[in-house]
């Protein structure tokens, strides 16, 4: 049987819509701001580092995408670029560095070793850093061409723009010091 109460949710829905519209505007604005001010932390372990230098310096120039400044403290960065092979002895260190980066944070796996272990299919190498930390963009190649890295940065920017951003994020703080995922 119909009653007047049935109409109440419609009103709250409109209010949700209005809030959602404002939050959407804020989210888009924050996404636009964040995607053009990526402060990177290069976790360089291997030969892909040479290619990273090429990308970061004048010829290919990451500055055109707003990702110019490498910060050498993870607390000042929001994009972790894992460049090169990560072996099992180093895995806890990479995890610690990831935990130290402040929110919001994104991770790029630079090169095939960071993405999947590459041809180091052996006892010593982590078979892709996604076994330790979450990864947003994978850039394959051994080493990747600078154009591939720029493509990865642009993909990441598109992803950041599509994500939900909030002025004040009330989601619970992540628990640090968890046991690493075992394989």
């Amino acid at each position: 049987m119909a009653s007047e109460l049935d109409t109440v949710p419609v009103i709250t829905t409109r209010r949700d819509e209005a809030q959602g519209f404002l939050q959407g505007l804020v989210s888009k604005g924050l996404g636009w701001a964040r995607k053009y001010s990526l402060f990177q932390y290069p976790f360089v372990t291997a030969c892909c580092g040479m290619e990273y230098m090429t990308v970061a310096s004048a010829r290919y120039d990451l500055d055109r995408f707003g990702a110019a400044l490498p910060r050498f403290s993870p607390r000042q960065a929001d994009l972790l670029i894992v460049v090169g092979t990560v072996n099992c002895k180093q895995a806890p260190i990479l995890r610690r560095v990831y935990e130290q980066i402040t929110e919001p944070k994104w991770v790029m796996a630079f090169g095939v070793c960071a993405s999947s272990g590459g041809f180091y299919d052996n006892y010593a190498t982590v078979q892709g850093i996604d076994r330790i930390i979450p990864v947003d963009v994978y850039v394959p190649g051994c080493p990747p061409r600078p154009e591939q890295v720029l493509d990865g940065i642009m993909l990441l920017q598109r992803k950041i723009q599509g994500q939900e951003h909030k002025l004040i994020d009330r989601k619970p703080l992540p628990v640090v010091g968890q046991t690493p995922t075992t394989r």
Binding site: C88, P92, I132
Partner: protein, 174 residues
Amino acid sequence: MSKVVIDALVERFPDAVYDAYVGVGGDDCAFVKKERIVEVCRFLKSDPGMLFDMAPYITAVDYLGQEPRFEVVYNLLSLKTNRRIRLRVKVPEQDAVVPSVTSLWRGADWFERYCFDMYGIRFSDHPDMRRLFMYDEFVGHPLRKDYPLKGRQPLVQEREVKDIYRGPGPATRD
């Protein structure tokens, strides 16, 4: 290369040095009995005609299926006379302990730790017999031929700083 070194060695240690030959590249090579290796090395280092004052590389080989199974290879170099020699020591699997030469060359320290880490060959009288490359939780010795090709092991926790053992510290210079 002249056979001066190898002739002197065989003459001095007829019961410890055997099967001398000239290896690839013209280096003098010889097999040495395991128990006598420190004695032979001390002669090579300190004798005024030899003066092998540097051990550029010490490594091990796993001849799986042969007996004795392992072999430790000492590559020695004399900076004074510009001569090289390669000593090979057969090591059985049941008794994989070799006398250490760190008392002669400080640089042999990490090479012997490498041999222990990768092949499981222990060196007696070594000051700090720990793994060199792999972490302490790692089980087995990965360069042995019977280690599984993709023998993965679970990832380990990061250690607290106070739990990190840094070894006995720098030794006195010899």
